[in-house]
């Protein structure tokens, strides 16, 4: 980002709801079926058809609103009128000046807060495929329309223009996705189109200036594309302005291969959608009980899960920056319940976190399916010194590969028996006896003396081929020194 300039970013996210049926009719809400098999008079816009609102879709929209700290309000539906082949009625039923959710916010892991202006309900369009060489609209000879997706429920989440970097925008999209999944409303699959992100980008010289002209970027299929396209677009606008030209308000398409945004047909004026209240629907007025009932069934949000783990770390003595990153990873992968279970059973929070973020995370799918009891038992063995770190990691790998099991049995199978106290003491004694000079210096103590503990531990480890528990060795050395 060029110095002397600030970028301003707002994101519009369309989220498909995971309902069984469409927003206004009983057709299946299903991806991938044979074209035009999940249709009816309503979602085909046949003459005489009428919409009836899906209760579950409303509840999911309310769940999203709650998760995003919005006011849940009485709302109405409006018609957004425009002609397009994938729009079965040539108008979309959406929400205009009275949306169901408004004035919320999303707190990001870095501590920043992005305002959310609204999260409203609307219906999706059908899907067009273009017959021609590129499969894209331009240059196509004709197009084919499938209305299976027509009428699928969407929630459109509009952020305030509150982001100031592509990194922040990426963090917002990532956190929002996690929230949408946690709320039960969506599966958050950007690549499959169940979560679609458009970015509005403008630039200005300083924070005090009014917002510059913005451009909308569409066709972003991943968080990475989101970041790249925002940076490209900001640079493009800066270059224009610095050379004395103006930024034209337009919609631009992100070309992933070329790594740039491309203007679509430039619209000189905003399209007049001629919004008016949908006469075929009635207002939605959720009472306090309904809102509370939806909020009560809402699962734990990612921020709460992260805070929960941070609290455990703080109880255990503090959270380093590296550990904060580990917490984010663990929550993102849905493995935080394992950490909580381990700490509750007496495992140290640092160990529980590290093992989960570093090792369990390598096969997160398997880890999520693990019986927490086995996982906790394994970590308890490591914490007590019954297994070394190396050994514990090996057993964990086995647990993940096998999809579960008994850690004690698995440790035995690998030959990881804990060394008996006697054999450990005798090995330490032997090493001490064979190195009298070092032992004398160690017994003198002080910084130099204490350091030799590592020398002796290394010899013990070599003699026992790694089977000795480093901590137990240190304890034995101390005991000998003291006696």
């Amino acid at each position: 980002m060029k110095p002397g300039w600030e970028m301003v970013v707002g994101l519009e996210v369309h989220c498909e709801l995971k309902t069984d049926t469409k927003l206004f009719c009983g057709c299946p809400n299903m991806f991938g079926d044979e074209p035009n098999t999940n249709v009816c008079p309503v979602c085909l816009g046949l003459p005489g058809s009428l919409p009836v609102l899906n209760q579950k879709a409303v509840e999911m929209a309310m769940a999203i609103g709650t998760a995003l700290n919005c006011e849940i309000r009485p709302s109405t539906f409006h018609r957004k009128n425009y002609f397009y082949p994938d729009q079965a009625k040539d108008y979309q039923i959406s929400q205009y000046d009275e949306p169901i959710n408004a004035n919320g916010h999303l707190d990001l892991p870095d501590g920043s807060r992005v305002g959310i202006e609204r999260a409203h309900m609307e219906e999706d369009t059908g899907k067009t495929t273009h017959a021609g060489t590129s499969g894209r609209i331009h240059g196509a000879d004709y197009s084919l329309v499938d209305y299976n997706r027509s009428g699928v429920p969407l929630v459109e989440i509009v952020s305030a223009p509150g982001m100031r970097s592509s990194a922040q925008a990426r963090a917002y999209a990532t956190e929002l996705r996690a929230v949408l999944v946690a709320s039960g409303a969506s599966d958050g699959k950007m690549e499959e189109g169940s979560m679609r992100v458009d970015a509005n980008v403008s630039v200005r010289r300083s924070a005090g200036d009014p917002f510059g002209t913005r451009c909308e970027i569409k066709n972003l299929n991943s968080v990475r594309s989101l970041g790249r396209s925002i940076d490209y677009e900001a640079d493009r606008q800066i270059a224009l302005l610095e050379s004395g030209e103006a930024v034209v308000q337009q919609t631009r398409h992100w070309d992933e291969d070329a790594g740039r945004t491309v203007a679509l047909r430039s619209k000189e004026e905003a399209y007049d959608y001629r919004y008016f209240l949908e006469p075929d629907l009635v207002p939605l007025v959720p009472d306090a009980e309904w809102v509370e009932a939806v909020a009560a069934t809402l699962g734990m949000m990612p921020a709460t899960r992260r805070a929960r783990l941070i609290d455990l770390l703080i109880d255990g003595g503090g959270a380093s920056e590296a550990q904060v990153d580990q917490v984010a990873t663990v929550v993102d992968l849905g493995l935080d319940d394992l950490v909580v279970a381990a700490v509750a059973a007496g495992v140290g929070s640092g160990l529980a976190l590290a093992r989960t973020a570093n090792e369990a995370a390598t096969d997160a799918d398997a880890a999520r399916r693990l019986d927490p009891g086995s996982y906790v038992a394994l970590l308890t063995m490591e914490g007590a010194g019954t297994l070394t770190a190396t050994q514990a990691k090996a057993v964990l790998a086995d647990l993940l590969a096998d999809g579960g099991g008994d850690p004690v049995t698995m440790a035995k199978a690998r030959g990881f028996e804990a060394m008996s106290e006697d054999s450990l003491a005798s090995t330490v004694a032997e090493v001490v006896v064979t190195h009298p000079d070092e032992w004398e210096r160690y017994c003198e103590g002080g910084e130099k003396g204490d350091k030799l503990a590592g020398f002796f531990t290394g010899l013990v480890m070599k003699a026992t081929r790694g089977q000795a528990n480093g901590k137990a060795v240190a304890v034995e050395l101390e005991r000998l020194r003291g006696s």
């Binding site: 049926t21 057709c27 098999t37 249709v39 209760q55 084919l144 569409k218 959608y273 009635v282």
Partner: protein
Amino acid sequence: MTEPGRLTRDDVAHVASLARLHLSDEELDLFTGQLAEVLDHASDVASLDLAGVAPTAHAMAVVNVLRPDEVRPGVDREEVLTQAPSVEDHRFRVPRILGEAP
């Protein structure tokens, strides 16, 4: 409140285009005259001071009409496609679409 100006030929040409209607010059002239007359008549409404009056969009005040999230039978695909002007691959075929959706 300020009343809109009289309906012009350009206004009619504009809304015809928005509504995907093509009008010949004669039609444009004829319709402009007829529609202007209707709007003049309706100006008795436009000029009223109704600032304190709430608009009624629905004559019968009903709220919260919902249906359960349960699958219902749709329509037979063939029955619908046989009524379609042009079909290919079980999809509705349309000529070249020039632009993205607004």
